[in-house]
Chain length 332, copies 2
Amino acid sequence: MEQYKIVIDLLGSDKGPETVLLGASLALKEFPNLFITLVGPKALVNEKKDELGLDMSRIKVINAEETITNYENPYTGIMNKPNASLVQAMKEVGKEEENYAGMITAGNSGAILMGSFRFLSDENKTRPCMAAVLPNGKGAYSCVVDTGATIDCSAGQLHSFARLGSDLMKKMYKIESPRVALLSNGAEATKGNHLVKETYPLLKEDETINFIGNIEGNQTLTGDADVIVCDGFAGNQVLKNVEGVARQLITDIVKLSKKRERPEFMEVAQYLMKSYDISALGGGLVLGARKLIIKARGNSDERAIVNISRMMLNHASGEAVLTQEQRNDALR
Amino acid sequence: MEQYKIVIDLLGSDKGPETVLLGASLALKEFPNLFITLVGPKALVNEKKDELGLDMSRIKVINAEETITNYENPYTGIMNKPNASLVQAMKEVGKEEENYAGMITAGNSGAILMGSFRFLSDENKTRPCMAAVLPNGKGAYSCVVDTGATIDCSAGQLHSFARLGSDLMKKMYKIESPRVALLSNGAEATKGNHLVKETYPLLKEDETINFIGNIEGNQTLTGDADVIVCDGFAGNQVLKNVEGVARQLITDIVKLSKKRERPEFMEVAQYLMKSYDISALGGGLVLGARKLIIKARGNSDERAIVNISRMMLNHASGEAVLTQEQRNDALR
């Protein structure tokens, strides 16, 4: 079995380094071909290694005690904190001789973007973006770019993100010509805010992508597009809305089950909870860098770290990040 | 029983004037205290009056055969088409001596905004915005402004919309000090796109509103705020997302019911369909004009016209647009 090495940043998570370390320990147990370089407080790893049963033969630790917080300016964080766990992790994953599959971090999104541009740029100095892959109503997946890395975007940036998203869907899901759509407030070409109207002709004229026009906010889960392009503000809304609305409907079902005294309705709630658990889907994929970086949500639990490790392994081995079987599982 | 007069624009709906006319006929049957001024093709009304059993003693017809389409520039539409049904309807509803409760139209959103500013401005020349009132998880209602009238907004406009939304919630739901929040990509004051960051201090410094800070996209249905302020692009996404995600989950439940051969799960699907039927909730409320204007969605069916007529009557009589009883009904 081929072995894969990944880097995990222990710091930056809302739940503290203990939770990320627990996730790493579970990933090592679940994937025997996984090697992990942990970047974070060495003392914590030493303190917890017996309790967690860490297999130290598959672990390397790089000590880091400094972090770039969510309240910090990403640029100054990256430039002025060479010892921050995120900076050290990015330098480590970039070492060609180490041949890492990628890295996982729950740190400051802006700093991840800034750092991946500074330390992991490709030859074209592409501006990285953040993508999410969501299961859609056609039983396949749609990719949303950008999901929050660049909150205020230019039309040129959206154009670049459209290409990155298209490339991802080609590679990951073997889609020959991914359908790329712009998220707007109406299907017509005349609809959109200034940014969307400026981006539309750029995408239309680009022959390297299959641009199908605008789609609306009620089509993000329908599978009408393989790649949904929007600025980071709108992309953040898409993800948070899916989570919020799904949670509200599930809560309604739980209440209904109690009110009508129909315990069997809880099966429906549990099924939906499994299907729409965004945290279990993993995190945001940073596109446009030399190495795959997956950002875990700030409030990720240990299970999310395991799932993201699985995504890393699937991606490295050329398999889909989420297989069709995993999607079908839920319907069984 | 007090009598109320409203204006209904027959043109501008995707489903044609026949559907709007059918809706008007059903509203007349359901609300015996309702009088309607129809603005649209007089020939159609004459042709259908027997078939629909129209009570012509409670109907006035203003002939209009021209419409401002969704593809048209709202400004030139309003300025150059004095005979368009929307323009005639707005002039009619503004007649003080007629004492209308308000008007209903499924026309071009931009033109409705432009027209209400031109023909129905208040003494301060307030720029109108569009609001939606959504049921929330606390069993109450939250208002979203703007929901699509102004796609690209300035901070000053968002500030004005925040006040209009707050006034609506005070008046309609007797909330003493409605909690006003800005929709952003994070709860912290440092989060947001340029517009949100510029709007934040304006809302914070305004002592006439109860500003509680930023909320995220997963809180639009939680009831954490009474008024959710955003530009028309984001507001359109909020409404469309609620609709799209709810529809996807309901579809999943229907599939699950079939796969597992559990017909009782269809009860859950039907319950959610009733709760999250955005079209049944009515339409968008235009705030900031002298008269209440409710925009029906372009694809509204006759039932939506009836529901919006009910909203009009409730609003005119000083009752809530949707009563708590109506919300509770669904939980019985």
